[in-house]
Symmetry: C2
Subunit: 267 residues, 2 copies
């Protein structure tokens, strides 16, 4: 058992980009100390899961890449939005018009995309063309009961030193144009965090989420009952420490410092 | 004096696209009956002004085109957002990063665009690329005091039978990403309608606005004290007649029917 903030922590749930690695060309580079920190978590007996809003690659490609960087990580312990999205589409008999990154398309290969009756948007990056955004809008306006899913609602992330728009702003554009409220799949949705907790088989108060996104990682986890820890890496910016709505349970300089603190409190 | 809805109307303010003409290739085509209806308004002794959120051409080009279609129209009676925007930029010593339609750029020719300290977005159509939206976002994030102007906040318009996104959704995307609230220049802003009323020299209750946009034309005018008339042309859609927030003072099939009704009530 590990004590953190007066909780008995049994599981650590980690965001990937901005916590394990920075984003950047060719999938990014490890954040200093994070490979060793993850190995120490694996050796500690704690449950470890990876909860990411990454939608620009397939889960398989993401894991292969993380391994090539030196991270010890199993594919079935990685929870991105697309597999959760596919389950929802099948359960509700929905056939999506996709506005997603081309490299993520293989994860939708089992989904019927004929005669569409909903729109799914992810971090489509350069596929967010004027033409493609208009097409998604026109689909929604033509559906009898328009349904819009957004794979996360992040505002922006950092890449090669620049802030880049994430899916959230494009979701807001479509919401405003159509009057439809998007259903979020991924962080910070309650259902998404619960999928991870159910996989481990623990209660929310026994888990801590570590992320660089004050709203979607920290605030989202807290709203579900997990502890929420902010790290000063990735897209972290100083004003996040005084966010009007979200107050992290703790803030660490990076994953390594968090693991130092967590494991030294071992009872 | 003309009576409409128990008001003594001295001025008619007309939206252009969707009221006088449809949008479409090569600038669109006249809506049936609108050329003659406008001529009858001119002959009636009523003040006539044109209040448009058009930002994809210069004012001069717009007027030349309307004349070529057969409309009787003077340039100084046309009020688009860009001249109003330029006045604001000069008054407040602001230097814009522009995300606007290339054909509208000549109307900004007297504006200093070096060392930018605000962002101005208009209906940039195909210039709403992923790269350009990101650049506007990065500008705002880099300003010490970010200021965003939006030339209108329309959701969409109709072109060649298809609904096309207007500037509003892209404004919402930037607002969400940056946390900045845009200042609207153009309909439905109070200042914009007041500029037109001041030019005529009348009070709001002596004017009627005629438009196809339930929110920006009708609702905007009503919020400023004008009568707001909806026409069933342009981007009008049946649900507009039961809009949750805006109830038009009157609804007519088109401009011709409105003018018929207005002029037959001459006292």
């Amino acid at each position: 058992m590990f004590a953190l903030l007066n909780r008995n922590i049994k599981a650590v749930i980690l965001d990937i980009t901005g916590v394990l690695k920075d984003s950047g060309p060719h999938g990014g580079t490890p954040i200093k100390g994070s490979i060793e920190a993850l190995n120490r978590l694996h050796s500690s007996g704690l449950h470890v899961r990876f909860c990411t809003n990454e939608t620009t690659v397939t889960r398989h490609t993401l894991v292969i890449h993380l391994r090539s960087l030196g991270f010890t990580i199993d594919e079935e312990k990685v929870f991105p939005p697309i597999p959760a999205m596919c389950t929802i589409l099948k359960d509700r008999n929905l056939r999506p018009h996709l506005l997603v990154h081309p490299d993520a398309l293989p994860d939708f290969k089992d989904i019927d995309q004929s005669n569409t009756n909903c729109v799914v948007i992810g971090d489509a990056t350069h596929q967010f063309t004027y033409e493609n955004i208009n097409r998604a809008f026109q689909c929604l306006m033509n559906f009898e009961k328009p349904i819009l899913f957004s794979l996360g609602k992040g505002k922006y992330y950092q890449e090669e030193g620049e802030l880049i728009l994430d899916v959230g702003p494009f979701m807001k554009a479509l919401e405003y144009a159509t009057g439809v409220t998007a259903e979020i799949v991924g962080k910070p949705s309650l259902a998404f965090f619960n999928t991870v907790l159910n996989d481990i088989g623990i209660s929310a108060h026994e888990a801590v989420m570590v992320g660089d996104d004050i709203v979607n990682d920290v605030g989202g986890a807290q709203a579900c009952g997990l502890a929420g820890v902010l790290v000063r890496t990735g897209k972290y910016r100083k004003p996040d420490e005084n966010h009007p709505d979200v107050k992290p349970d703790a803030i660490f300089d990076n994953l390594e410092k968090f693991v130092d603190c967590l494991l030294q409190d071992k009872k």
